[in-house]
């Protein structure tokens, strides 16, 4: 229980953006991250295609990620996708569970990008530096 409660309060510095080690991208601006996760672009700045993956709604990682990297609450993100989905303009990122699978998907697929807890980072993935304006 305590562990679960602690997860809910994962702070910004505890969630990091990760890509495959095979991916050449090592840094993104906060705006580029938002564009990728809000479906406004389908490519990395270098032109390679990018597919964002989400953790499950209600997880501390997801809440912290959207709050600190995108600047939106989960309710605002749902409202945003409501506008996009109900016009056929796009789809929210696919959800991958559990977090260990997020790491494996990213490890093996250089076009994917996701977020995990900093303490879960290991040699299989690469942390992307997010440049704040």
């Amino acid at each position: 229980m305590l562990m679960a409660a602690a997860c809910q309060f994962a702070m910004a510095q505890d969630v990091v953006l990760v890509v495959s080690r095979k991916c050449s991208v090592s840094s993104l601006t906060q705006e580029q991250v938002a564009d990728i996760f809000l479906g406004k672009t389908s490519t990395f700045p270098n032109g390679a295609s990018v597919i964002p993956i989400d953790q499950q709604e209600g997880t501390g990682e997801r809440e912290a990620f959207y709050h600190h990297f995108i600047g939106k609450t989960e309710a605002q993100v749902r409202t945003y996708w409501s506008k996009i989905v109900f016009t056929g303009k796009g789809y929210p990122p696919i959800e991958v569970v559990p977090p260990e699978r997020v790491k494996r998907v990213i490890r093996d697929n250089p076009n994917y990008i996701g977020y995990i807890k900093r303490r879960d980072v290991d040699a299989s993935v690469k942390v992307v530096v997010v440049l704040h304006p």
Partner: protein, 424 residues
């Protein structure tokens, strides 16, 4: 990058990934490749609103759009028919670049029924990542929130401000559109061009038909700010005054023909100009829109605008909105010269002049002050309350319809609304 090259590049990339995956799996039998989840080809989403509205004006009905037959006030003290609706959407992802969408909406119509209508049904093809084409029944993106206008959950208010959103009765177009996205530094511009035709049905049973329509719509996003500009034109026929046109030509000689040409609503150029802007952060929003229509008919050159702002406190977002509608063309006309009172056509011509003037004065003139709040009560459920105070122009009944005997134009009324918006 030329489109053809981009396509080839994409195909080459896919091939490379496929080739890379094959041997990798064989070599690393111990460490299985993690295959990313593939989104389903077909998915279904739905949305809806359950709401009630109460108006202080008892001799007429408040309606959310001109296309509804009955509303709050005269027909129902607390009307569930103004805002309630349900929509179902089928999404198809045939390939990442070929997608389709079909949306069916049930809401109150011109005849008071809730017969479901196909709101849109189209396929979209991404010619390049930034250039796409759609064909079928497509939303007409006249306004900032046109796309999701019927999805209450996606907007901060109980309903989109009628002063602006009711300017254009037709919300979708059967045809094709192209969308081109460009990046200028931190700004992203999307220009859309569409051609097609559309229609709507207004009470009691009048067809509104737009033919040979085309429009250009531009959206510029810069950080938290979005600008929207639109121009749309169609050949519009509004059923309901065609007998008047015919009679004016028959009885009115050259004066009658001139009136029929000026005020007739058969195959007339209808033009719409719109501008809008919004600024939204995780804490608050500020947005406004202004629109002008010129239907080149008795329905009058109309303008409408609104400005709205809200501030989020936890799960609750209170907001205020000011909206206005006005008419920029004449709201009365002497009509056809009357013959002497003993003449057989006297009463016919007098009645025709009266009908012409009733259409001319139907353009709404009103100001509305609104305040309300949105409460994100549960995941995918928003509860909203709104209070509106509308002041009508001296000779206007604003957007009230189903007016009963004893109704007096002008004055003001209050409206209370409560809705629950959901999506799934």
């Amino acid at each position: 990058m030329p489109p053809a090259f981009a396509l080839k590049r994409k195909a080459a990339l896919t091939l490379a990934i496929l080739l890379a995956c094959g041997p990798a799996r064989a070599q690393e039998a111990a460490q299985a490749q993690e295959v990313p989840p593939v989104p389903p080809i077909f998915s279904i989403n739905g949305f809806g609103t359950v709401g009630v509205a109460h108006s202080s004006e008892r001799r007429a009905d408040f309606v959310a759009t001109d296309l509804q037959r009955k509303g709050a006030g005269y027909s129902n003290d607390w009307s569930p028919y103004v805002d309630s609706r349900v929509g179902m959407q089928l999404n198809a992802r045939f390939t990442p670049d070929l997608t389709g969408v079909a949306q069916v909406v049930s809401e109150q119509r011109y005849d008071g029924s809730f017969a479901p209508q196909v709101e849109w049904a189209n396929v979209k093809y991404n010619i390049t990542p930034d250039f796409s084409m759609r064909a079928g029944r497509i939303v007409l993106p006249s306004f900032l929130l046109s796309d999701a206008r019927k999805v209450g959950y996606s907007s901060p208010w109980v309903r989109t401000p009628a002063e602006v959103y009711n300017l254009v009765p037709i919300t979708n177009s059967d045809g094709i559109d192209f969308s081109y996205r460009q990046q200028f530094g931190n700004a992203r511009n999307t220009i859309q061009a569409s051609v097609g035709q559309g229609s709507a049905k207004a009470p009691p049973d009048n067809d509104i038909t737009g033919k040979r329509g085309w429009g250009v719509f531009d959206t510029l996003e810069y950080g938290n700010t979005t600008f929207h500009v639109s121009y749309f034109r169609t050949r519009l026929t509004i059923e309901g005054t065609q007998d008047l046109e015919a009679m004016a030509r028959l009885y009115g000689g050259s004066a009658g023909a001139a009136l029929a040409d000026k005020y007739g609503a058969t195959d007339k150029p209808f033009e719409f100009y719109g501008v809008g802007a919004s600024y939204e952060t995780s804490r608050w929003f500020l947005m406004g829109e202004y629109g002008l229509i010129n239907p080149h008919s008795a329905y009058g050159k109309r303008v409408g605008g609104y400005i709205s702002s809200g501030y989020r406190i936890g799960q609750v977002t209170p907001y205020v909105t000011y909206a206005f509608a006005d008419v920029k063309s004449n709201t009365s006309d002497p009509g056809m010269p009357l013959p002497p009172a003993w003449y057989p056509t006297y009463s016919t011509i007098a009645a025709m002049n009266a009908r012409l003037n009733s259409v001319l004065s139907s353009a709404p003139v009103q100001q509305t002050y609104s305040t309300g709040l949105r409460w994100d009560a549960y995941k995918n459920v928003a509860v909203k309350f709104q209070f509106d105070h509308s002041r009508l122009g001296d000779n206007s009944y604003g957007m009230l319809n189903n007016r009963q005997s004893g109704y007096v134009r002008g004055g003001s009324y209050n409206l209370i609304s409560a809705t629950i918006d959901f999506q799934f």
